[in-house]
């Protein structure tokens, strides 16, 4: 067999694909679009790691406040004071900074030419849009500065990020506050990336594999679009003298053309998608199109693997087909499918995962290659096992009504086609079931009970040091605020510096104090102490009348206010109760009249707010008041539980990805289904001619997909549960089957098939009109 002959046949196939008339290029186009969608998804995935890197780098480059105990540089010509003014608007996070240069050499943040002057601010393009829109009015009240600049791409981590930098003054007085710092450069010196913990990494890997596997299956299906027509065309070639091998090579050439065209389409889809990605925000994460560059090696891999796979799949599919000059003969009784090698794949997958069982979170990193290999093999196992199981299963199905008989017989003859149709769905569902289990299992680890009583207060505002409680009066008149509990909190010690024993101090009016401790009676001017706390303490000794204690004592280098206070007569007893936060309040409690201004200076003011949640934008109103009272105020919205942000992001990613993949699979199912119906148009029409009810035909089409999908979903539930169990064991989490999510995942899979069937019914009814009887 000469190379020239090969090349000639392949070229002929390519020519058939591109010039085979309307039918030829419809087929090529379908394949190209299908392969293209898959390729685009592959390219996008290969680009995600670099996109995350790019985001991470940008984030590192603009780092100012590190929360670390690194000593701040001394004030100089080249220093800048930075205040963290992060806020939130209608669930949208906004990165905010106040900046005050201390000299001409002060650093300028990335993305800006100069630090804005006081009363001016620079904003990101997305924030500018928001502020200028009607829906941003409330936010504009909070950020009233004149907008004089735009933060450029270098200063942002995403195209749709909301960020502002405003000029500030007097920040030096707040340097003790954790939200204010002095820097002489931007950028984290050591880009200590907060690595993913092994379990989260495992999740990410599995999410990727689970989402990409169905894409691969989908590409394999797309390559076979229009296969039956092609076979007939090849039969015509046999008639004019092509031999069996030649027809195979020609078919390979056609597949090659389709997949190469698909690569082109895919690149185009990807480029368009990349541009669109710049507009999209997925759960607060947006990217710049420039971030989405697939790594060249992975892109090359895609470019080589896809056409190769297309040719191999085609040749593999033609295995059992003999193309005769007078038509296509599927080898009358195809050899019974063998089980052993099909079982080998999932077993090998399990074997790869097995050594990592019980490793747990503390066990360190999982071997990524083993994880990927194991999961891939297990899921490929689904596609390998499915035809065998479908074959065995339908072989046992007996007689029934005509619709059922037509469907069952068709699956019996063509169990491969039937299995192929549901392969993608089965793989996707198996993966999703496993992931859901893993998520549900480790959910508890990443969801923390905050211990907050959200029925009594829903927001908390922390004022910066030195802000008096009197400043909180404005909250009472804020729209949506029902009750305000303001506390000034701090500590007293038995010595000015480095006290041996110290106690918590809480100042508030009687109503507020009653929210955190039990009091028998209370009047302004009273002083209380929790004399019988649930833990060991020196409070009884400290609360002796006449003893001198010190407010805000200093520890080490940390300078405190160190205000002396003499314990008065008549300190009343207070008893512990469940407070507003997870912490119980103990120590000394004061009503406002019991303390003078000097002692108050060393306290920090916390405001807890009970809100009327029916008032629109109540949270934004509170934030606006807080910003007006104290620009450095820290506003928190309470929730009863709290999830690790990364965990939530991964989970969200899975849902978005799964939706895309299932939509893709649904589309390919529909194409395959319609194609089969068109193939059988004449037969269906003749069935109608001799009186078959359309309902019978519709039902038989439904059964024809429903039976394989039922088998497929059953298999995928089993494989998914197995994989989920193994993954949970790997992370050392107790195995628990999450039935609702199992049912919902299989339900979604079934729904896809049902929708596809319903969508194919109108064309079916159109096809079986008498026109279909025409013989040409």
């Amino acid at each position: 067999m000469s190379v020239a002959q090969w090349a000639r046949d392949l070229a002929m196939g390519v020519r058939f694909a591109l010039t085979g008339g309307r039918e030829g290029w419809t087929r090529a186009l379908l394949t190209a679009v299908g392969v293209g969608l898959g390729v685009a998804l592959l390219l996008l995935t290969t680009a995600i790691p670099s996109a995350l890197d790019a985001r991470h780098e940008r984030e590192a480059d603009r780092t100012d406040i590190t929360w670390m105990d690194s000593p701040a540089p001394p004030k100089g010509e080249d220093t800048l004071l930075v205040a963290d003014l992060d806020t939130e608007y209608r669930g949208q996070e906004i990165r905010g900074r106040g900046m005050e240069p201390e000299g001409p050499g002060a650093p300028v943040p990335p993305g800006l030419d100069a630090v804005p002057a006081v009363g001016e601010m620079a904003v990101s393009p997305a924030l500018r849009e928001l502020l200028e829109s009607d829906s941003g009015k409330l936010l504009r009240d909070r950020l009233p500065d004149r907008i004089t600049g735009t933060i450029a791409e270098e200063g942002l981590v995403g195209s749709r990020e909301f960020a502002f930098v405003r000029g500030a003054e007097g920040l030096a007085a707040h340097l003790g506050d954790y939200r204010v710092t002095r820097i002489d450069h931007f950028g984290a010196s050591d880009s200590a990336s907060e690595g993913l913990d092994p379990v989260l990494l495992l999740l990410v890997i599995v999410v990727f594999v689970v989402l990409l596997m169905p894409v691969a299956v989908f590409i394999a299906t797309a390559v076979r679009f229009g296969g039956e027509r092609r076979d007939r065309r090849l039969a015509a070639l046999r008639l004019v003298g092509a031999d069996g091998r030649m027809t195979r090579r020609i078919a390979a050439g056609e597949a090659l053309a389709g997949s190469v065209l698909g690569l082109l389409f895919g690149t185009a889809f990807f480029l368009v998608g990349r541009q669109l990605a710049g507009q999209a925000v997925v759960y607060d994460v947006s990217v710049f199109p420039s971030y989405l560059d697939p790594s060249p090696l992975l892109a090359l891999l895609v470019a080589v693997a896809v056409p190769t796979a297309a040719v191999l799949v085609t040749l593999f599919a033609l295995r059992g087909v003999v193309i005769e000059p007078l038509g296509v003969v599927r080898t009358a009784r195809p050899a019974r499918r063998r089980l052993w090698w099909r079982l080998l794949l999932p077993l090998a997958g399990l074997a790869m995962l097995y050594p990592m069982i019980g490793q747990g979170r503390e066990g360190g990193d999982f071997n990524q290659y083993l994880v990927v290999g194991g999961v891939v093999l297990l899921l490929i196992g689904v596609t390998a096992l499915l035809p065998w199981i479908v074959e065995r299963f339908v072989a046992r199905l007996g007689a029934g009504p005509v619709a059922w008989q037509l469907a069952v017989r068709r699956i019996q003859v063509n169990s491969g086609t039937a299995a192929r149709m549901v392969n993608g769905v089965a793989v996707a569902v198996a993966g999703a079931v496993a992931l859901q289990m893993l998520f549900a299992g480790v959910d508890d680890d990443y969801t923390r009970d905050t211990g907050r009583d959200v029925s009594r207060a829903q927001m908390q505002v922390t004022l910066s040091d030195g802000m008096p409680a009197s400043a909180t009066a404005g909250f009472a008149s804020t729209a949506g605020v029902e009750k305000v509990y303001a506390f000034s909190e701090g500590s007293v010690g038995d010595r000015r510096t480095d006290p041996e024993s110290s106690e918590q101090v809480t100042v508030g009016d009687c109503a507020a104090l009653r929210e955190v401790v039990r009091l028998d009676s209370c009047a302004d001017g009273d002083v209380f102490a929790v004399l019988d706390p649930s833990y060991e303490s020196d409070i009884k000794a400290l609360a002796t009348p006449g003893r001198v204690l010190y407010f805000d004592p200093s520890y080490g280098d940390d300078e405190g206010a160190r205000v002396a206070w003499t314990v008065p007569e008549g300190v009343k007893n207070a008893r512990e109760r469940v407070g507003l936060t997870a912490n119980t309040t103990t120590g000394f409690l004061f009503t406002p009249a019991a303390l003078d201004g000097e002692a108050l200076a060393g306290l920090r003011t916390e405001v807890y707010l009970q809100l009327d949640r029916s008032v629109p934008d109540h949270q934004e109103q509170v934030r606006n008041t807080a910003a007006a009272v104290d620009p450095l105020a820290d506003v928190m919205v309470w929730s009863a539980t709290e999830q690790s942000e990364k965990f939530t992001a991964i989970r969200t990613g899975l849902f978005v990805g799964a939706a895309c993949v299932l939509a893709l699979i649904g589309a390919s199912l529909l194409v395959t289904q319609l194609e089969q119906l068109r193939e059988r148009r004449k037969l269906l029409s003749s069935l109608v001619a001799f009186g078959t009810r359309r309902r019978t035909l519709g039902l038989s089409v439904l059964w024809q997909t429903a039976v394989p999908i039922a088998v497929g979903l059953l298999l995928s539930a089993v494989v998914g549960l197995t994989l989920g169990t193994v993954l949970l064991k790997m992370t050392g989490t107790p195995v628990r089957v999450d039935w609702p999510s199992l049912l919902s995942m299989t339900g979604v899979g079934a729904a896809v098939v049902l929708v596809v069937t319903l969508l194919s019914l109108p064309p079916l009814l159109k096809l079986v009109r008498p026109e279909g009887l025409r013989t040409e």
């Binding site: 003969v329 005509v402 008989q405 017989r409 068709r410 109608v688 001799f690 009186g691 013989t775």
Partner: protein, 231 residues
């Protein structure tokens, strides 16, 4: 022009018109057939033979004209009624591609009975009886893909007869067969039809096939015309 059907006729059509876009497939065609009669519809390709057959069988509604079957106006029935009629009173044989490839031959033959609601066993017993008469009972368990063209057509004929129809419609039933096979199929077909006293509307363009009929009608440019029988 008479409006009453010829006395004693089972299926009558008058002045049928049917256009497909600009193409006038039927242009005032008339037709009638008596119980048990075998009528050949002849004519060149594209003359409107199949369209006439489809109209007569209630598969395609004509644009105008009347079709009376056994005293009922066919064109006035809705699709469900016409389908039911086709299931129980008519039988069909087409040129090819009408056997369901996944069903065995006996299941194919039994299909019309099953569509009429007969239990499977009973339907298949009746089907086997007809397959015996057409000498294809040994193919019962084979699938259509495994039998020859002539055998397949005989299976199709058995299927068209299995419901004991009063009218059989055959559109080029031997079109895809060689002459030897074609004659054998025609012989078995007409014998079976005559013994079952079924009327046959036989569309063909081959004089050799038409020779099996009692009467011939020629369709040309959508118009039909009775032929004098030349024995």
């Amino acid at each position: 022009m008479t409006t009453a059907p010829p006395p004693g006729s089972l299926l009558t059509a008058e002045n049928l018109r049917k256009a497909y876009g600009p193409t006038l497939a039927l242009d005032g065609a008339d037709f009638s057939i008596h119980p048990g009669e075998v009528v050949a519809v002849m004519g060149p390709s594209g003359s409107g033979k199949s369209t006439l057959l489809h109209c007569l069988a209630g598969i395609v509604p004509p644009d105008s004209g009347t079709i009376m079957y056994d005293g009922q106006e066919l064109s006035a029935m809705n699709d469900a009624r016409r389908s039911a009629l086709r299931r129980s009173e008519f039988g069909f044989v087409f040129q090819f591609g009408q056997l369901v490839p996944e069903l065995t031959c006996v299941e194919n033959v039994a299909l019309p009975l099953r569509l009429n609601g007969r239990p499977r066993k009973e339907a298949e017993r009746a089907a086997l009886g007809w397959m015996e008469r057409l000498e294809v009972d040994d193919l019962a368990k084979k699938r259509p893909g495994e039998v020859s063209g002539g055998q397949g057509q005989r299976v199709a004929v058995a299927r068209s007869l299995v419901t004991d129809p009063r009218v059989l419609f055959a559109d080029e039933p031997t079109g895809a067969l060689d002459s030897l096979n074609g004659e054998r199929v025609m012989e078995l077909f007409t014998d079976a039809a005559r013994s079952a006293n079924a009327a046959v509307v036989l569309v063909t363009h081959e004089a050799r096939v038409a020779a099996y009929s009692d009467r011939e009608i020629v369709v040309r440019d959508g118009k039909s015309r009775d032929m004098e029988r030349v024995v």
